[in-house]
Amino acid sequence: MHFRPAKREFYENFENMNTATVTKLTCYHCGSDCPPHPILLNDKAFCCDGCKTVYEVLNDSRLCRYYEITPNPGQTPRLARLEFLDHPDIISQLTGFSDDTQTHVTFYVPAIHCSSCLYLLEHLYRIAPSILQSRVDFLKKNVHIRFRQTDISLRQVAELMTSLGYEPLISLNDVVEEQNRPTYKPLLYKLAVAGFCAGNIMLFSFPEYLGLDDPSFRRLFLYLNLMLATPVVFYSGWGYFESVWAALRRKMINIDLPILLGILTAYFRGMYEVVTDTGAGYFDSVTGLIFFLLIGKWFQQRTYDFLSFERDYKSYFPLAATLIGGKTETPVPIASLKKGDRIRIRNQELIPADGILYKGQGLIDYSFVTGESEPESRKPGALLYAGGKQVGEAIELEVVRSVSHSYLSQLWNNDAFRKDEGGRKWSDRIRTFADVVGKYFTLSVLALALVAGTYWYVTEPSKAVNVFTAILIVACPCVLSLSYPFALGNGMRLLSRLKLYLKNADVIEKMAACDTIVFDKTGTLTSSATAQPVETFAVPLNEMELSLVASLVRHSAHPLSRKVAGYLYDAMILPVDNFTEVPGQGIKGLVYDQFVKIGSREFVHPSPGKTLDTEGSAVHVSIDHVYRGCFRFPNQYRAGITGVLSSLKKSHSLYLLSGDNEAARADLKRWFPNDGQMVFECHPQEKLDFVRSLQANGRRVLMVGDGLNDAGALRQADAGIAVTDDTIQFTPASDGILEAGSLSRLPDMLRYSRFGMKLIRFSFCISLIYNFVGVSYAITGNLSPIVAAILMPLSSTTMVLIATLGMRWKGRKLFPENRD
């Protein structure tokens, strides 16, 4: 039975040739294409029983508004193994608050994507009354749930969510990361205090500007100013003390030193003037300055929550493993696995610790660790390394090393993965403009102040201290600390609209500084996700034979089967008998009384010694024991790669690293002409070493990779960008995540980041002019508080304006499609 679209719909589709020319019935729940025999209920079509069941549950609980808010919002529910959530250790690690009546837990649910999700997840109490409350944090994709643990267990809560298609992702990450989560709060507190005090100080300073003479008020206002300025300097400005102290301990001068110097000088000089009643001090300028600087910092800190860069490899690790003891299976936390424990690994599960295979056929996908795209077959007795994923039947392992010592943790514990620890910040490799300038700027300001002070000490000693301090106050390079966050912050926003999500704004400076780009090949330059299968048959299959294949592959959930099924979507579907799926190998069955086998070469038609070495993966077909050929899935270059590489070739030196064999060398010769520019059959550690050796030669390296198998290289590079098809699932610890569709814009993005740095240098020159004016007042001993109070905010606002407008203008020019 075929479903034909209505006539009008057909013409609409005809006009809009981008969409498929034949509309298929889509599932009311999840929106995916329905099979030829959709499941119907209440005049609604469903693609599978899972979707139908969710609909029934929601309909019974009167939650069908779910489907009105967003069309086809659902996710096909998957089966998940959540027995481990019954383990008391795991429960106590996962749950937050708990008392006699209720327990609080926070789940990370990657499937949250629209307002319907929010609606459903916040109405869980209607389905299960023992759930007292559920709140969604949309950007973080978190759900906070309060439930009565006497009526419903943690596992049941998770299972309920899974059955609705919202499987919580529970991993090692949830347990480990809990303590040191960065928080935005301290900065906002400081900002609030600074704003409150600075505003009041400005108010109390007005009489001074206007020349109020009444001595009692004057003194009151001055003391109030002093009182209000104290928390601003020592609480709100505390970050500067810390930063300068950290730099000085490493015998360095950073940009914060002159700022702190200016702040402290202004504060103590003001205090002296107030106490001795000799002047009004510069409290208004200094508190206003700190307020401005904190706004800049806050702007810098506001990153996009929906891409959590804090989730690293630990979020790929399961929390528990299935321990086999006698005849029972118990889930145990991974951390308590010991040498000699026997564990069971099911299809698609990750091997949590190195172990010896003693039962079952191992077919291990090591793409996670080595980058090999083909699963490796292992026989009992083989040593399996942690990090591999079993594809196929369940296997049993005997653990030989506990988790913390295994190969994977060693790889991830490599130095390159710990850039931020041990006092040596990794950004040291690229000296930021601010730090370079900061050093010379500080030294010259100090020298200038000393010279001017000495001069006045000789000619008119009473003015010497005044001039010395005034120079330090007015020459404060606050402008640099303002144009940085605003320019880079605006740049980061624009780039994120172009689907390049950066970890923080500083990455833009690192991107701009890089002169070498290292590409990973598979998954970065190429992708098999979008590839159409190519028919490679000795004798082409006729229509009848194609429908035999199509009928059979429809029964399999394997990704390659799905692709073939999608490719043959218009074939006639015939009933299948005796369908058998051999995990990791293939499928077979009787279609129309013909025996069809589809799968790997060895499975379909074993022919020893005759293996075809080709790139990409293939699905082989035999009909009635006659081998016919295969569907090939070539690794296709992503759209726009030619333009990207030819454009980048002019400005950067390019390198290519690949975990695959050399098949593609000829194709890529155009862009990587020299020897040594392409390295094939690279393991993750070799990729990392390659980047490191480039750096040792003084190169600043931008690594563009696809994720975990080059995670080490991404981290080691001065800037590491992960190209991904799915930003929801994929969040390795890189500096930035680029959606694959935007890869073609990479050269423009790099150009944009360079413009950003030029703009900052330009602002710095403008700020020097302001400083020149200010210092010329100060050097003659005429810097009145009112001049400072006008000059300093004026220069700050100029910097903010230049940075913001400049970055927006350039962004519109380079990316015209991105107007807002």
């Binding site: 973080k140 609030a192 009444d214």
Partner: protein, 68 residues
């Protein structure tokens, strides 16, 4: 003019009141999630007592009488 001392005191207390209100809001997580409430407020909370919109049971008779 002595009233100025008093008024300054009042103004400072008022301003401190706002500051502490902000601190209170921060401490109670009012700034934790600035995005979700904007979606949440658009979702009507339908009354569970209503008949389910997709109920397979036929509508009550009297609903038909209004149809001309």
């Amino acid at each position: 003019m002595q009233v100025i001392f008093f008024m300054i005191g009042i103004s400072l207390v008022l301003a401190l009141g706002f500051l502490s209100a902000f601190f209170w809001a921060m401490r109670h997580g009012q700034n934790d999630d600035l995005y979700t409430p904007s979606i949440r407020m658009l979702l009507d909370d339908t009354d569970p007592a209503e008949p389910p919109p997709d109920s397979p049971t036929p509508k009550p008779r009297n609903a038909q009488t209004f149809i001309p």
